[in-house]
Amino acid sequence: MFRATLKSLLARKVRLILSGLAVVLGVMFVSGAFVLTDTLGRSFDSVFADGFSEIDVNVAAKPKVEVNEMEGEQTAAPLPAAVVDRVKQVPGVASATGIVNADGARVIGSNGKVVTSFGPPQLGENWIGESDLMQLREGRAPQAENEIVLNKALATTAKVQVGQKVGVLTAFESKKRDFTLVGIMGYSGDRDSIGGVNEVFFTTPVAQRLMLGEPDTFSSITLRAADGVSDETLRDDVARNLGADFDVKTGEQVAADASASLKEGLSFFNKILLGFAAVALLVGTFLILNTFSIIVAQRTRELALMRAIGASGRQIIGSVVLEAIAVGLIASVLGLAAGIGVGALLAFLFGKLAGGLTLAGIGVPAAAVIGSFGVGLVITVVAALLPALRASRIPPIAAMQDVATPDRPLTKVTVAGAVVTGIGAVLLFLGLSGNAGGQTLSTILGGVLFAFIGVALLTPLISRPVVSLLGAIFSWSVPGKLGRLNSGRNPRRTAITAAALMVGIALVTGVTVILDSAKGSISALAQDTIKAELVISGQQGGPRPPSFDPGVLDKAKALPGVRMVDGEYGDMGRIDGESTWVAASSDIASLRQIFGAKATAGDIDRLGPTQMLASSDTATSRGWSVGSTVNVQLTRGEARTYTISGIYESSQLTNPVTLPATAAKDFAIPQPIQGFIQLAPGTQVADVQPQVETLLADSPEVSVADRDAFIKQQTSSLDGLLTMIQILLALAIVIAVLGIINTLALSVLERTRELGLLRAIGLRRGQTMGMITVEAVVISVFGALLGVAVGSGLGAAVVEALKDEGITDLILPWGQMGVFLGLAAIIGVVAAVLPAVRAARINVLGAIAHD
């Protein structure tokens, strides 16, 4: 029995390869995700272990506001220089060095553009001399106020040489300041940077002033232990001496913490990749289900013979499941191997993109292996279970007769489909209306899954009228008519094949509907509310938003034709202990007018130094009213108490809270990140824009644009997101195409005799190919049609649920949908190529004699 199964499997390898390929692709995604995140994780480990290798114990002030990796770089509170002297007195300390080390030192390259970073910070530091780790490659250390040293990686990217003047923007000065590059440094082992970090080294006083904003402060203190004192002992001694306001850690701990926070980001990334793998595998399940169903149908006689000579129903199920296990195993092995390759390739690309991250060796974590085999096997076996059951029900008498498989009624499957779709709809409703009790995301995902399966079950019923309608387009020719009839011949098979395509297209359509609606709503809102003709802003590349010199705001206001100017600052702060986005405005009255904000309580036209405005939503959820006092802790400085002096409507101005301009000096980025300029009536935009551009000459991170360009720029990040999701979902569509090829190839094989007959009575080769192509196009367009319909429905449901979040316009991407349908037709033609060629090559005589 076992042997018979394996032999039959081998005889069918080509047929199974296609369905196996679906599993291979899905498993590849799973193992690739694990390998990628594991490799990057270990690379970060080694980067940080290296970066902190010169540190025995590190002392830093507790950060005022905890910021996670997704929100930006953590900014440590500055440490008074006196602490260095205090720590030096602790027994066991061999040396204590004050370190300035803060994000936001941006070098202007020789092309006049700011060198950006995709992830690693751009650090401004004080030069503390050479060590085993850090050496000067060229030149000398910075000695004067206007001298700097760059690390080799940064000097190379910026294309600057020792002796040149180099412009630098610093954390506290977004106006260009010129320095002389006096030296270029690198790290041991001939590395130009550690982990792709860009570094600018100043003299200590300059670094303190420009990077920390206060003289005589440091970011941290590096301690070396005296001989015979362990790092841990020193850490505990120092911690006891300094008290609870300081974070005292060994170098190893600091490295581990830094790595852990990055890995948190990685695990999020991993989950996203696994999500897409799940979609690919769902589609793959349809494909495998179909392949096994067809194989079982083709083997009816063979399976009946087995039954006739004594095999039990269970043995038949066993043989089909065994086949599935073999396919699943082989596909898992191949998928795992392919995934390791893809993971390694992506890690390599990521390393390059992140500025030369030195990769640790490619590792295959246990999760990748277990995940691959678990997913590959389970999916294949589950998908084969239904066909296996059907196989076991083949009566032995079928071995003796040409049992015409009766067209089973679709009642059962339709009822099941309606029930499953209903469950999906209920879950979606619960999830989207926020009644799922903390399980919102899983409820919505479950709802989507059920909806897909339900619709797939309903598809056979829908397929009859829709397919014949679609096919009617081709009915003018005989091959077209035959192709149309063929595609309606086996509604279940057509349905599953089309359903596989539906899943991918539905998800792409759904996401497009949601993002387009979001984009449209944001644009419409911005068009309505922003009453500024010119906007100063920059394109954000890395974790740090671009900023500009606040002096520009006053100068712009003085320009002829400018009526009012507002500069916007922003940061994450803690209000009454809760993390909140905090904005500050340079001119609160202008802000109100430019955004047409309406007060719901209090006065929003002015703001005293200890007063604060809140949006109506925030005020409601936090229970604030005019006169409430709140405690605000910003990135720098001490916590302060503010009194709410006014509340504005959330619909116009979305900032949760707005602080006076004076508060902005304690923000992580104490410069404005956006500027809004309203012109006096009758002033031409083209007259003012060049003048503002001139003002911004020393703030190369930002530029001035008119309102429409600004709005476009603001929504462009959504376009990027959409493109990325579409690329990832393309895999699901590729698998669906494999499904169409597979179904057609098997149908051609099944109908060998019939095709031979058609050829014998005069159907030409070209006509045969046309017939197969029509069948493929009808199936794929049907799938796309379903996908577009289901996707629009899902998207519309989500948009409806997000109405309160400001997505008010439902925008259906008709153009995109048309593209999908067109694409589906092309997919059909492509998928038909191989089966059609095969059908055309059928030997007429052999086919008629075919048993």
Partner: protein, 255 residues
């Protein structure tokens, strides 16, 4: 009319007032109308009759492949009627062998693997002496490693016969075993079936419409319109042909 044929008490297969009705209402077809018959151990019985006479249905019912509408069927000591799927599976595995018109070999397995398939399904080892005897009788010694596609029709049918014999079933049902063979290959297969009855005391029930094939049997049972209408012991091709002609005649008159 109910014709009872065969007197031996030791019947390998027995049908007792078997009715088989397909469909209902206007589409109702009565395939068997109260057939009672016994098929003795160690004999080669042929069932003959014109198309639509119910001969294949009778065989399917006897073999437990099809259920009966009324009456009972038994094989050896086992009552087939009323058995569940697992009972029927066990019956087919242990007591019944099949030979088909279309050979029905698994194309992926070699001749030897095809022959041993029923035993491997049942998880049994072949009796080596009996296996050698079967192989020798069918004359396939040097063809055992060939795939069905590499064998002629006659050779394929001999593999199918060996497959039916190797598990020593109580009774072998053969459904038009020579229908797809040329006359020489057909004669070989029939001669070999007769030998297995004579020399190894095998029981064979064969459905055929070919008088020459029926002449190899020890006994021929004739069916017409779902009833047993006649019987011949030690038939020859001529006596079979004569009987067939007589059977056809009243039908023509009736038309």
């Amino acid at each position: 009319m109910t014709a009872t044929v065969g007197q031996q008490a030791q019947a390998a297969a027995r049908a007792n007032d078997v009715w088989k009705v397909y469909g209902s209402g206007e589409a109702q077809v009565i395939a068997l109308r109260g057939v009672s018959a016994e098929f003795e151990r160690g004999r080669f019985t042929a069932i003959m009759g014109p198309s639509g006479s119910g001969k294949s249905t009778l065989m399917h019912c006897l073999a437990g492949l099809d259920s009966v509408t009324r009456g009972t069927v038994s094989i050896g000591a086992t009552t087939v009627t009323g058995l569940g799927d697992s009972g029927l599976t066990k019956l087919r595995r242990d007591k019944v062998g099949f030979i088909f018109q279309q050979f029905n070999l698994l194309p992926t397995l070699t001749a030897k693997e095809n022959i041993l398939l029923p035993l491997s399904i049942a998880g049994r080892k072949p009796d080596p002496a009996w296996y050698d005897t079967v192989i020798k009788t069918v004359g396939l010694q040097d063809r055992l490693d060939h795939r069905p596609a590499q064998l002629s029709g006659g050779q394929q049918q001999r593999v199918a016969c060996a497959r039916a014999l190797v598990s020593r079933p109580e009774v072998i049902f053969a459904d038009e075993p020579t229908g797809n063979l040329d006359s020489r290959s057909g004669a070989e297969v029939l001669g070999f079936l007769r030998n297995s009855v004579r020399e190894h005391n095998q029981t064979i029930v064969m459905v055929t419409h070919d008088p020459t094939a029926a002449a190899y049997a020890d006994r021929v049972v004739f069916l017409a319109d779902g009833q047993i209408v006649s019987e011949l012991i030690e038939p020859t091709a001529e006596t079979v042909l004569d009987t067939m002609k007589k059977l056809d005649a009243p039908a023509e008159v009736g038309n």
